[in-house]
């Protein structure tokens, strides 16, 4: 068969999403229905179709396509499946929210969501610095537009502007770093960079110089301290449905490119980037948890909580290789991957609850809006409690096992002090999560209006909350999937 056709088959999920994105864009012109139901259904079907294609094209081996620019491996496939699921859940939660807001209630919302998903898929499957950069840009550009879509809101416009300027700066840093790596190794392809490092023929000063810029760019995209300034403002200013998108799926893609760049490409420089990531992780854990305490806006609080969660993810990547000893690497990286997956599950659910409480003209984004939720809806108060317990790392929720596996990896690498520090910071963090629970159960409600939400969202949110509890009882299922996929990919 023509090799180009084979490439297209390997990359068929991307091809499907791109083609359907263009098709939906055109079909939506003919939709008269102001709620754009047919566009919504088509978008959902596209994501389901992409999931089916990803499952069927997955061979379990590492397959390269398009002259080594694209890689299809089990890590990518697993992350992509989680990505589709997250996108589907995000769209279901976002739908009642955007239907109440005329500026967001447009067909382009779904098209941009699809293109953002495509950008993340490109990032996850990237095997070349060029593809990584293009994936980031496709994702970022779609998200900037989505954040700014609420045009009459000053906060949204400001958030979009900040996100755009800082995102452009981050892309610039990343590109600069990539050009340095290219200058030192003479190639942009990740496996070839790794080979060039093994051959030890490149200028170490330029390599380290490039590495600093690459780590800074990645840190911007992950939103870790000291590159976290945009996170709280964008989370607060963006419409909640978009915040849910930013706070969820892109972290999967950012994890994937971090793994591909640092672990697959620059593993020989591990002693250098481990030190940098360690600083980022330690600072993120401290500032994320401490700055979340005084927040009165729950979206802003969740933004700081994201920063601390990303600190945990980085901890897992830091402790992978100790002094040239890669025995624990698989364990450490898979615990990071498990952490990202469970974080996305919790984050999407938390924003789902905020959307559940909001209605036209009312955002429900203050912590005070959660007062007495138990009296208004005992079930959703319980769901929110499970999410908060899980984020805080209370035992037998998925968040506990995520933190536990990271700490296990840190201890295995012999850095007991670091593990104790992470536990202390999590304890500080537990305060603000538990405050939400206290507010929901022990305070009198300010707002007595009944909660109105469509049945599909109620059911999905309940399933999401129960999944957090259920996978907390059986964390091994996801954990072993992560470990197996990484084993077959690295």
């Amino acid at each position: 068969m023509n090799p180009y056709v084979l490439d297209l088959i390997t990359a068929s999920p991307e091809v499907l999403v791109l083609a359907m994105g263009c098709l939906i864009l055109i079909l939506d012109l003919f939709v008269k229905d102001p709620s754009h139901t047919s566009t919504f259904v088509l978008t959902m079907l596209t994501l389901v179709g992409a999931a089916i294609l990803t499952l069927f094209t997955s061979t379990g081996e590492v397959v390269y396509a398009f002259n080594g620019l694209y890689v299809d491996d089990l890590m990518g496939d697993l992350l992509k499946l989680v990505l589709y699921l997250t996108a589907i859940v995000t769209l279901f939660y976002a739908r009642p929210y955007i239907l109440q807001r005329p500026d967001l209630r447009r067909g382009e919302f779904y098209v941009l969501m699809l293109f953002a998903t495509l950008g993340m898929m490109v990032m996850i499957s990237a095997n070349h610095l060029l593809t990584i950069y293009l994936g980031i840009e496709l994702l970022s550009l779609s998200v900037y537009a989505l954040v700014a879509m609420n045009r009459d809101s000053v906060a949204s416009t400001e958030a979009a502007m900040k996100y755009f300027v800082l995102g452009a700066l981050a892309s610039g840093l990343l590109l600069y770093g990539m050009s340095m790596i290219y200058g030192a190794t003479g190639t942009l392809s990740i496996p070839e960079i790794s080979d060039a490092l093994v051959a030890n023929a490149s200028n170490p000063t330029i390599l380290i110089f490039g590495l600093v810029f690459i780590v800074s760019g990645l840190a911007f995209k992950l939103g870790v301290v000291p590159f976290h300034m945009w996170v709280p403002d964008v989370y607060q200013g963006a419409p909640t449905a978009i915040t849910m998108l930013i706070g969820g799926a892109p972290k999967l893609a950012a994890f994937a490119i971090t793994m591909r760049l640092l672990v697959s490409g620059l593993l020989l420089l591990a002693p250098d980037w481990q030190g940098m990531l360690l600083i980022l992780a330690v600072l993120s854990l401290a500032i994320g948890n401490l700055a979340a305490i005084p927040q009165t806006n729950i979206k802003r609080m969740l933004a700081y909580s994201t920063i601390s969660h990303m600190g945990f993810v980085l901890l897992g990547i830091v402790v992978g290789v100790v002094g040239g000893d890669a025995r624990f690497a698989l364990n450490a990286y898979s615990s990071s991957m498990f952490y990202v997956v469970s974080y996305v599950m919790m984050s999407v659910a938390a924003f789902g609850v905020i959307i559940l409480l909001s209605r036209a003209g009312f955002e429900a984004d203050r912590i005070d809006d959660f007062k007495g939720l138990n009296k208004r809806s005992p079930w959703f108060a319980a769901v929110m409690m499970m999410i908060m317990f899980s984020m805080a790392g209370v035992p037998f929720f998925i968040g506990f096992f995520a933190k536990f596996s990271i700490l296990q990896a840190v201890v295995a690498s012999g850095q007991i002090g670091l593990a104790i520090y992470a536990v202390l910071m999590s304890l500080i963090g537990a305060f603000y999560y538990l405050r939400i629970v206290k507010v929901m159960y022990f305070d009198e409600p300010i707002d007595e209006s009944p909660i109105v939400a469509p049945m599909d969202m109620r059911v999905l949110l309940s399933i999401n909350g129960l999944a957090i509890a259920l996978f907390g009882l059986f964390p091994q299922t996801i954990m072993s999937l992560c470990a197996f996929s990484l084993l077959r990919s690295l």
Partner: protein
């Protein structure tokens, strides 16, 4: 070879002249037109150096898109250019510094052999190849995938620009035939019940009452 050299000098002279025109002409439209001319001549000089792809891109992108936009802005906005020109002398030291730096950089590159900068000759197999063709071959074979992703990025940029700026016109007056057909009399005409004879206000005098009745609607 001789003809090429003469052509180069002629084009360079036009390029330098038109560039001087850009910064000396008082009328901004003239300056923009001089800039268009200098882009064209620079394109032609590149063509002489067998960099035909760069030449075409320069003309298509800069002359075709950027300068047209620039001219639109200059023509449509009422900018007071005399005010803009104020403070020329205070910017002069910075401008001169940048100019001197540029001259230094160019002389290092051009006089490579004096500054020990490597002067690599073009590999012989590339001497007669067309760079447009080479770029096209690479873009559509090895780099098809990033090429397509870049196309998707441009599409997203278009969508984003439109959704962020287009609000639809609120003042258009178009016919909606369905509404016109479905209209009922009650939508168009309101029948108001009124008394045929108004009771006389107390203040006005009696003799005018008949005239008042006649004027009643």
């Amino acid at each position: 070879m001789e003809f090429k050299l003469i052509l180069f000098y002629v084009l360079s002279a036009i390029l330098v002249g038109s560039s001087l025109g850009v910064i000396t002409s008082r009328n901004p439209v003239n300056a923009a037109m001089f800039l268009v001319l200098s882009f064209f001549t620079a394109g032609a000089v590149w063509m002489l150096a067998q960099a035909e792809f760069l030449a075409i891109v320069l003309i298509l992108v800069y002359v075709g898109a950027v300068m047209v936009l620039f001219l639109f802005v200059v023509m449509m906005l009422d900018i007071n250019f005399d005010r803009l020109r104020q403070g020329f002398w205070s910017y002069l030291p910075l401008g001169a510094l940048i100019g001197i730096l540029m001259i230094l950089e160019m002389s290092i590159v051009l006089g490579g052999q004096y500054f020990q900068v490597l002067d690599t000759p073009l590999p012989p197999e590339l001497a007669n190849s067309s760079n447009t063709k080479d770029l096209g071959l690479l873009l559509y074979t090895q780099y098809t995938y990033p090429d397509q992703v870049a196309a998707a990025i441009l599409l997203v940029a278009i969508i984003a620009a439109i959704i962020l700026t287009y609000r639809g016109r609120k003042d258009t007056k178009r016919q909606v035939i369905a509404d016109q057909v479905a209209v009922k009399a009650a939508d168009r005409l309101r029948v108001v019940k009124m008394d045929a004879v108004k009771p006389q206000p107390a203040v006005t005098a009696a003799p005018e009452s008949e005239a008042g009745d006649g004027a009643a609607k």
